[in-house]
């Protein structure tokens, strides 16, 4: 099922009653989700991700804009008539019902001709449980399950009605690191198997990048960039997106273009065909190459070994953060005795941004 969002806007009266101005939780959001894709909705907390999800599932009505599922305009439909499944951050499993009863619950709400027979309900509940591999836990209460198992029950409950669209609101944020990794693979697998169009909300960029067909980066209710994870990573449209994606995060410098050269403090690092101006410079950690005669002079602070790669912590006067973090191959390990290290920069890992607007500057670097 294709999902189309057309100029969606949602305003809330401010929770702080002293402030008259409305909160714009989602602003002019337009996006067409292709059928069967898994979309990662990504952004810092409070940027309007949950609100967007609530608009899609119908728990909230948009202030303006329209929502289509396939060709149907569902903007004015109540949630139960949209055919969506929603998984909540805290799972919202009914604590007094067993796993089986929880999964059966949506089916038991069906009325008239839609309502399956009792055997059919049980069969479908078991099928959903098998899909998420909890079919051996059917008689337990949610409190007797681990976080990861509860998560699966929540997904089974959302899937049992065979929704046209599956929505997941920060489904992994209550799990520990190892389970999170495992469960996100699981979600990817389930999504592939069922082919249901899925929107996955998270504030964790790594999570979004790893499982999404496409990511949507949001900030303050405004969509910043939409694209395949690798494309967004390789060419962010502004400083915010550049900073938000990638671990370790991108290194930001105060730079200047003068006479066709990009300068970081005293160092002229790359050629840049731009009029003279001050800029922000973002350099990915993997964009540094240690070189005897490299143009970037850094103070070497520490070297951390991470197995195949090593991470170099260094300082530079033009650096906007506290330290530079570069990821290099282990055999390029600089000599810690010296106290300084020089880098050459890989041009395709270096991005220039306008100093005021923070928009990406289109420029060929070399």
């Amino acid at each position: 099922m294709k999902v189309v969002l057309q100029n969606l806007t949602k305003r809330f009266p401010n929770r702080n009653k002293k402030i008259k101005e409305d909160v714009v939780a989602v602003s002019d959001f337009s996006f067409e989700i292709p059928d069967g894709e898994l979309i990662g909705l990504l952004g810092p907390s409070g940027c309007g991700k949950s609100t967007t999800l609530n608009l899609i599932c119908g728990l909230q009505k948009p202030t303006s804009g329209r929502i289509f599922f396939g060709e149907d305009d569902v903007t004015d439909l109540p949630p139960e008539n949209r055919g969506v499944g929603l998984v909540f951050q805290n799972y919202a499993l009914y604590p007094h019902l067993t796993v089986r009863q929880n999964i059966l619950f949506p089916l038991q709400n069906l009325k008239g001709a839609e309502r399956p027979s009792k055997e059919e309900m049980l069969r479908r509940a078991l099928e959903a449980a098998k899909l998420v591999q909890i079919d051996t836990l059917m008689d337990r209460k949610p409190s007797e399950l681990s976080g990861g198992q509860q998560q699966r029950v929540a997904i089974a409950r959302a899937l049992v009605k065979m929704p046209r669209v599956l929505l997941l609101d920060e489904p992994l944020s209550n799990l520990d690191a190892r389970l999170r990794l495992q469960t996100r693979e699981e979600i990817r697998r389930i999504q592939r198997e069922t082919g249901i169009t899925t929107v996955f909300v998270t504030h964790d960029q790594e999570e979004a990048m790893s499982i999404s067909d496409r990511i949507v980066v949001m900030k303050d209710g405004v969509v910043q960039q939409i694209g395949r994870p690798q494309d967004v990573y390789d060419s962010p449209v502004n400083l915010f997106v550049a900073k938000f994606l990638g671990t370790p995060p991108i290194n930001v410098f105060e730079g200047e273009v003068r006479g066709g050269l990009l300068r970081l403090g005293e160092d002229a690092v790359l050629k840049a065909a731009l009029p003279d101006q001050k800029v922000w410079v973002g350099i990915r950690p993997e964009g540094f190459a240690p070189e005897q005669a490299g143009p970037l002079h850094c103070e070497l602070r520490a070297v951390e070994v991470m197995g195949r790669d090593i991470s170099v912590v260094a300082g530079h006067p033009a650096c906007a953060g506290t330290a530079i973090r570069a990821i290099i191959r282990a055999e390029d390990r600089p000599d810690t005795q010296v106290g300084t290290v020089r880098f050459a920069l890989k041009p395709h890992k270096v991005f220039l941004f306008h100093r005021e607007s923070e928009e990406r500057l289109a420029v060929e670097l070399s």
Partner: protein
């Protein structure tokens, strides 16, 4: 391990001692009195030991009347007040505007003195030589004859007592239930809405189980409170409850000790033990039922 548990007991000692002296000892003492026939607290003497006190009390028409009154009061007021409170709380929590407006209003009975409220009830219901009272005035509009609610037939008096009890206990129950309702995570309702759950199913399958611990707490304390009712009856019908036929079990115990016909601590003790056994039984039954239906 040994030393640690010894230390634990040491910390508990003050509380245990206190409870022992002021709670367990009197209870045991009352139990002993109830079997001492003709006990005299002044001379500390008694004639013999046996079940006579119980037999006397159980054959005393005043006691039987008090027992009946108490049971009627319990059976009518506990379900009625809890049910009404639940209804009102659900209403209050689903309408934001009502919430603020009635917050003070419905709480007034709770902060008002029982005797004062009783007096007001008496004035509302009382029929004197000069006036039939406000309630009778209203009854008259509907074409019903005047009823003397305070000195008239037993059912009318019982009605006033029940009405009064329900009215007095309601605010506390509403307070507890509204906060219980407010503490139910909104996500459960959102999940239910997405699944197209009907309102009644949401209420019975989600709301009710979610607030069941609080509801159960109210039912248990409601039972116990109603079994121990006394001051309410005094406030409306005066101190001579036996004459009015409106005595309660606690009232009977009190009268046996201090009333005009009092001075019988043995009978009082026997009646008190009977009350204790009844309350204990009912509470145990409640607990048993709750095992299946209350979800913590």
């Amino acid at each position: 391990m040994e030393r640690r548990s010894a230390k634990g007991w040491l910390y508990l000692l003050p509380a245990v001692a206190f409870l022992g002296v002021f709670l367990v000892y009197p209870l045991v003492d009352v139990f002993v009195y109830s079997f001492e026939e003709g006990y005299n607290s002044a001379s500390q003497s008694f004639f013999g030991v046996g079940p006579y006190n119980y037999s006397y009390v159980l054959h005393d028409p005043y006691f039987l009347q008090a027992l009946k009154n108490t049971f009627v009061l319990v059976i009518i007021t506990v379900p009625l007040s809890t049910g009404l409170a639940l209804l009102i709380s659900v209403g209050l929590s689903s309408i934001q505007k009502l919430k603020d407006l009635f917050q003070t209003v419905y709480f007034l009975p709770y902060v008002t003195n029982t005797l004062a409220v009783g007096l007001v009830f008496m004035i509302l219901f009382k029929k004197t030589a000069y006036t039939d009272g406000l309630v009778n005035l209203m009854l008259h509009w509907f074409g019903a004859g005047p009823v003397d609610f305070i000195d008239g037939p037993h059912w009318a008096k019982m009605f006033v007592l029940c009405f009064y009890t329900v009215w007095v206990v309601m605010p506390f129950k509403i307070l507890i239930l509204t906060s219980a309702l407010a503490s139910v995570n909104q996500d459960y309702y959102n999940a239910a809405r997405i699944d197209g759950t009907s309102r009644s199913r949401i209420f019975f399958r989600i709301t009710l189980p979610m607030i069941s611990p609080m509801l159960f707490y109210l039912i248990i304390t409601g039972f116990i409170g109603a079994f121990k009712a006394y001051s309410d009856a005094v406030a409306i019908f005066g101190v001579n409850l036996n004459a009015a036929g409106m005595n309660t079990m606690v009232g009977y115990v009190y009268d046996m000790l201090y009333g005009d016909s009092g001075g019988y601590p043995s009978y009082a003790s026997a009646a008190a033990i009977i009350l204790f056994v009844i309350v204990l039984t009912i509470t145990c039954i409640n607990l048993l039922i709750s095992r299946k239906n209350v979800h913590y």
